[in-house]
Symmetry: C2
Subunit: 549 residues, 2 copies
Amino acid sequence: MKLLIVGGVAGGASAAARARRLREDAEIIVFERGPDVSFANCGLPYYVGGVIAEREKLLVTTAERLRIRFNLDVRTGSSVESIDRVAKTVRVRDLATGREYNESYDKLILSPGAAPVRPKLPGVELPGILTLRNLEDVDRIKRRVDEGIQRVVLVGGGFIGLELAENFVKRGVATTLIEHNKQLLPPFDPEMTTPIVQTLLAQGVDLQLGESVTGFTRAGNDLIVELKSGTRIHTQLVVLGIGVSPENKLALESGLETGVRGGIRVDAHQRTSDSDIFAAGDAVEIRDAISGNPFQVPLAGPANRQGRIAADNACGRDSRYRGTQGTAILGVFDQTAAMTGASEKALKKAGRPFRKIYVHPAQHAGYYPGAKPMALKVLFDPENGRILGAQAVGSDGVDKRIDVIAVAIQAGMTVFDMEEMELAYAPQYGSAKDPINMAGFVASGILRGDHPQIDLESVMHVAAEPRPYLIDVRTPQEFSAGAIPGAMNLPVDELRKRLHEIPRDRHLAVYCQVGQRGYLATRILIQNGFSVANIGGGYKTYKLFYPNE
Amino acid sequence: MKLLIVGGVAGGASAAARARRLREDAEIIVFERGPDVSFANCGLPYYVGGVIAEREKLLVTTAERLRIRFNLDVRTGSSVESIDRVAKTVRVRDLATGREYNESYDKLILSPGAAPVRPKLPGVELPGILTLRNLEDVDRIKRRVDEGIQRVVLVGGGFIGLELAENFVKRGVATTLIEHNKQLLPPFDPEMTTPIVQTLLAQGVDLQLGESVTGFTRAGNDLIVELKSGTRIHTQLVVLGIGVSPENKLALESGLETGVRGGIRVDAHQRTSDSDIFAAGDAVEIRDAISGNPFQVPLAGPANRQGRIAADNACGRDSRYRGTQGTAILGVFDQTAAMTGASEKALKKAGRPFRKIYVHPAQHAGYYPGAKPMALKVLFDPENGRILGAQAVGSDGVDKRIDVIAVAIQAGMTVFDMEEMELAYAPQYGSAKDPINMAGFVASGILRGDHPQIDLESVMHVAAEPRPYLIDVRTPQEFSAGAIPGAMNLPVDELRKRLHEIPRDRHLAVYCQVGQRGYLATRILIQNGFSVANIGGGYKTYKLFYPNE
């Protein structure tokens, strides 16, 4: 068996190692256009910031090591230019010498990755306007920082943009971040990004949301970034992080099926429309688990798994990729934001019915030092309670809760299961009622009808008259420090004695700081004959939606 | 409805709050023998060490707050002395005044907890021999430390003993820990406790495993602890942490069914043998999920959940407790040990077939600073791969992986599911191939027959002749720093060229440092016609079993 693999980073390297383990006798050739195989893509921003001090750390493995350990024929600096699917050969160009040659295959795995998008803007090809994909890119960026540049403009508020922002700030470079959407981190729901916005601002990042770049010009040694608003920003370096597009040239030109977003189309075996050609990684089209719509997910975990499965099937095994649920995480300064499954945005777009809850628990017992709150949002099926997605933002312990929910989604579990989950508790690690359990209680309470909840949007977007009568059940101190406009204050601890002050002819909405006292107030009021719902997640959720009010 | 609750800590307090939310009209009385309700049991050791600086932090809530917020009649200092199940009354003794009175009930919930065991040893009642259960206990212990004692003896190497050891060391008190078993932390398998033993020794704890106390005597202001070995230890304070026994006096005397280990027997509704009496928390008997045998699990999470479910059912709802899977965690110095589900010991005892794997991954990407290895052991069904239990020891990220596996066990997932789990990856938080995935790969490889593995015990406990021919596939440097006795060294990178050096008439066992190179070596050898198995978890696992060789 002769197996060719195009691309030697995450998907390609995984495929090559897996294929060798399965087939000691196979001839396996890996073509990598760049000089390095299997480098630490996700570590690049941290090398700019000096968090990762040694460049060698970024080399997960080397071509030499792959050759020796896995008996692979690794050809770096080698670009696969075309595929002849009838003759079953590829045309390879050695970039150093220019020599071209054909190489035949029995099976072919494509893992070419995705390339950073360079928008067609005036001046975008000026020197000093960089992207970040590989070690050569990071060398260029780091060299500029080491030379002592004072100012950088980052275009794009996605994962890479934010990771770079942190690392530029750590190096003392004044950082402007421009994002054309009104929110950072497009996969997240907007309110869940509020703490990240606040952190970036607190760290001195000049954050420009809802602003676009219209072009670049040169001014001496500086660059000028021109914005839609008319603002012109003088800077010394621009890094574009506005997304990636699948490297599909080979696939397109050889007539393999691709999707509307350009990804190479594969089946569950990672097989393309040609039964001898497989594909894995960022170049591949994914199906959204909720909507079934095609999309692209440039994530290392899925790329590795797809590489393994492509190799399995190329070697004659029947293994299947289970799909990508979009589990992702970002660390930026002291904040962590993570998500898994569907967002509210995605569910709405797909027209999929859902309910949602917010809780604001600490990552561990409040009585143990270092407890810090997180905001956790869970989306679930309104009929059967099946978990559809979750997002969390906070500091420690966010990754743990999202991983737990990621597995629960994979298992098809419900919010009722979340109530009962038996998680590890000691005061440094969690709570006897873990954030996961708390979210389960709140969500299950809605579905059981014990705990009528109203989403904040249904209160805020409603005109004065049909709007529910708002009761803030926190203490007067909390109330006077900030409350939802139009609310009356009636602390939960006085509620039973002051029921006569509450109108019986109005629908009520109560809220507290995080939802817990509001829940008790709701129970008291229901059992006293009022029509009432609790505003899920309380005032803290309100402040996620309306941070500046 | 009139509901009485005996005990106002974890299970009792949860039951009371839940009952009030369900039944605003119910009369609910909580009897607590001690002066405090709902204190932070699990935080007590950290108050001794000063990690938790303020005593008030230990009060999760107060009787006053429960009265006001939940409209509960909370009676502290009130001991329930007996139950008249026919008349449906309890006899209550006010401990301050000595007054006794009857209180009637419609439903009764027992949550009396468990009391520390005081072994019947000569001198065990001497002053200065303390236990740790509540705030009065911790005050006594902390007072002695604040007075400047120099030496303490802790009896019992369970969770509380180890947490206390850390906190005494932090206070500068020379600490001796005596455990009559040969291992610490009885719920764990012995090899998984090795890093904890090493940490305690490194921190200067005088650790005496396999040693028992035979009695205590007084010597001036000091105490003398007499050991079975004949050693006599002079000390200033003794804390007994040798386990707890369920407070079952009320249940026994009123004729409620109890189990062989003394726990109050309940059904899935937390209902005792009397249909109007429920029980929750440490006093209740649990069924082991694997063996079905009764046991006791004094854990706060299950106590809280049981309290809620007891209240549900006392209020006429049908909710069910799903059982306790024994998820537990310990932090001691910089180490974390955690487990969920069945241990190997428990599976063997129950005669349940299983396979096991060990992996030693870092908690996050190796290229990001701060990566530290953990040891992760997973037990699974040899037929269908269903996960039966897991244990991990290391530093950061141990809690996350055990929580993920705890949920996977609850969902009935398999090691094949672990391979595919899509967990959150950025280099600070995990790896593109997470420790969970790695464990899944190794375990699934065994079940698919790709990766024949042999447990270390099957190598070590076998006489020279039928013992497999041992090959260490690490580098000569690693080999010379320590290897399994009798192994030959043949680095994996030279294996393909040196196959002729390996006997073809022997069964082979290969190993590396953690199992990964051993896996590749196994694949190479199998495909070259050898009979071979990889020693799971490699040399690092060997060092867990044989730390001193």
